[in-house]
């Protein structure tokens, strides 16, 4: 869990004084289901990478190598877009 600041610590007037600070906001906390990627099934068509609204599909040397759970909100688009014959991504519901 990220540390939440108190009212005395935040800049006044809703100001965000650091450029690019949104990378610190780990939206993965919002997720209620996580995509799990099966490397053995994956054909590296990269449809998941194209459709992911959060840039959370990790690609190295044109290969999908995993999912960035810091930012993945669990929307399931990657699993839906993965071709039905491949089904390399499955959504797993959070336990609690």
């Amino acid at each position: 869990m990220r540390k939440l600041q108190g009212w005395k610590d935040i800049p006044i007037g809703t100001a965000i004084i650091e450029a690019g600070s949104s990378v610190k906001y780990l939206t993965g906390e919002w997720r209620n289901a996580r995509p799990e990627h099966n490397k053995d099934k994956c054909t590296n068509c990269l449809l998941c990478w194209i459709y992911c609204p959060d840039g959370a599909i990790i690609v190295e040397d044109s290969q999908v190598t995993g999912i960035n759970y810091d930012y993945c909100k669990g929307c399931g688009i990657c699993a839906a877009e993965c071709p039905p014959k491949v089904k390399a991504i499955t959504m797993v519901k959070n336990q609690n």
Binding site: Q5, W7, K8, I12, G13, T14, A15, I16
Partner: protein, 395 residues
């Protein structure tokens, strides 16, 4: 030397604005503020005032312009009344929570319907929860003095809040009064330059202002705003004391007139304090211990100080030029009632709430005399039979 002048309330406000010299003035004319907006425009057109005057197409725009200008680092001001204030409503809490020190004159005018251009306090009293500081002015002199102080309060780096300065439409805005004006140089030195905490125009130090805050941070932003408004009470007094040094005129959170040993008190806002004071003088000569409490700072509400000032009175009437329809009483009445609840004082007066002067209806010596007479009857009976009434409504 101070300058003696004969000015209307609108003239006095325009004169203060000329001396305050805002970087940006964005206003849309509306009765009874029109003369003020015109006069500032005239100053700019004549080259007397170096201000970017933005003739906007609506009040929603005038406040939007002020917010943008203020956040860019400019001293921004505007003025409005009645429906104009209602039309910029959406932006009022935004201005305050963005901590933009915009200063606005509100020339109090009734809300429709029926259409009425005269004085009620519906507009600014309705905006009491928008997070602005609110100062009220009995006459043109107080409008002038409050407006200059408002800029200093708003721009203080420990406060950074917008301030609304109110006066009664027509009764004050259009009546010529004698008042004392400060030298331009004195006002300039008193206010200094506005130094923004963050400026949107500082390209080497970019900031984002007014971004989204979700449930995890929204509360902290509101708490921060709430604390700043509460804290501003001390700053308002500090500025008043500094202003007294350059003007010779002292201001407090409210005015206590013959209140120290009073048995019967009236609490009132703005111009009708004048007629009330006259009635107090007359009653005092007759041996009736009458007193008056005139609100100057309404937001933040000086609750503890008002309780101290009223707790030893026998009966108090809160007179208000607006109704909080369907509420326990009008705004000031409910605030004072809550203040006594909070203070838990043993001593407290019996208190009634009368609505008067709606839509500019004149309030005279007889009306106020009747109120003090009622208060004495309540004291004799030892109980209140009717705690809320329209003072001047015909049956």
């Amino acid at each position: 030397m101070a300058r003696l002048a004969a000015l209307t309330g609108n003239n006095a406000a325009a004169e203060a604005i000329r001396q305050i010299k805002p970087d940006v003035f964005a206003a849309y004319p509306i009765t009874p503020q029109t003369e003020l907006a015109e006069e500032v425009a005239q100053f700019v057109a004549d080259g007397i005032l170096d201000t970017e005057y933005i003739p906007v197409e609506s009040e929603h725009s005038s406040m939007s312009v002020c917010i943008g200008a203020s956040l860019a680092g400019a001293r921004a001001m505007t003025a409005t009344a009645s429906c104009g204030l209602a039309y910029m409503w959406e932006l009022l809490p935004t201005t305050a929570s963005l901590r933009s020190p915009v200063v606005m004159v509100v020339v109090n005018r009734a809300f429709n319907a029926p259409l009425n251009i005269h004085c009620s306090h519906d507009d600014s009293m309705g905006a009491r929860d928008s997070g602005w500081v609110q100062l009220y002015s009995e006459n043109a002199q107080e409008m002038y003095d409050n407006l200059i102080q408002a800029v200093k309060i708003a721009e203080d780096e420990t406060i950074r809040l917008p301030v609304m300065v109110c006066m009664d439409g027509f009764i004050i805005s259009h009546a010529v009064e004698r008042l004392l004006l400060l030298e331009d140089e004195k006002v300039k030195n008193f206010l200094g330059e506005f130094k923004p905490v963050h400026s949107l125009l500082e390209v080497n130090n970019p900031v984002t202002i007014g971004a989204c805050a979700l449930p995890d941070y929204y509360t902290e932003h509101k708490k921060q705003h709430s604390e700043a408004l509460r804290r501003s009470l001390d700053k308002i007094m500090e500025v008043a004391n500094e202003y007294a040094k350059i003007s010779g005129r002292s201001y407090s959170l409210f005015e206590s007139y013959q209140l120290a040993d009073a048995e019967y008190g009236i609490v009132i806002v703005n111009s009708a304090a004048g007629v009330t004071r006259t009635v107090v003088d007359k009653l005092r000569k007759e041996g009736v211990k009458a007193g008056l409490l005139k609100i100057r700072v309404y937001r933040p509400f000086p609750a503890a100080q008002i309780v101290q000032a009223l707790k030893n009175l026998k009966v108090v009437a809160v007179l208000e030029r607006t109704d909080s329809f369907g509420g326990v009483g009008s705004p000031v009445f409910t605030d004072i009632s809550a203040a006594f609840m909070e203070a838990q004082t043993k001593e407290k007066p019996l208190m009634v709430n009368y609505i008067y002067g709606l839509g500019g209806r004149d309030v005279g010596l007889k009306d106020i005399g009747k109120v003090y007479a009622n208060l004495q009857v309540i004291n004799q009976k030892g109980k209140i039979e009717k705690s809320f009434a329209y003072l001047q409504a015909r049956e």
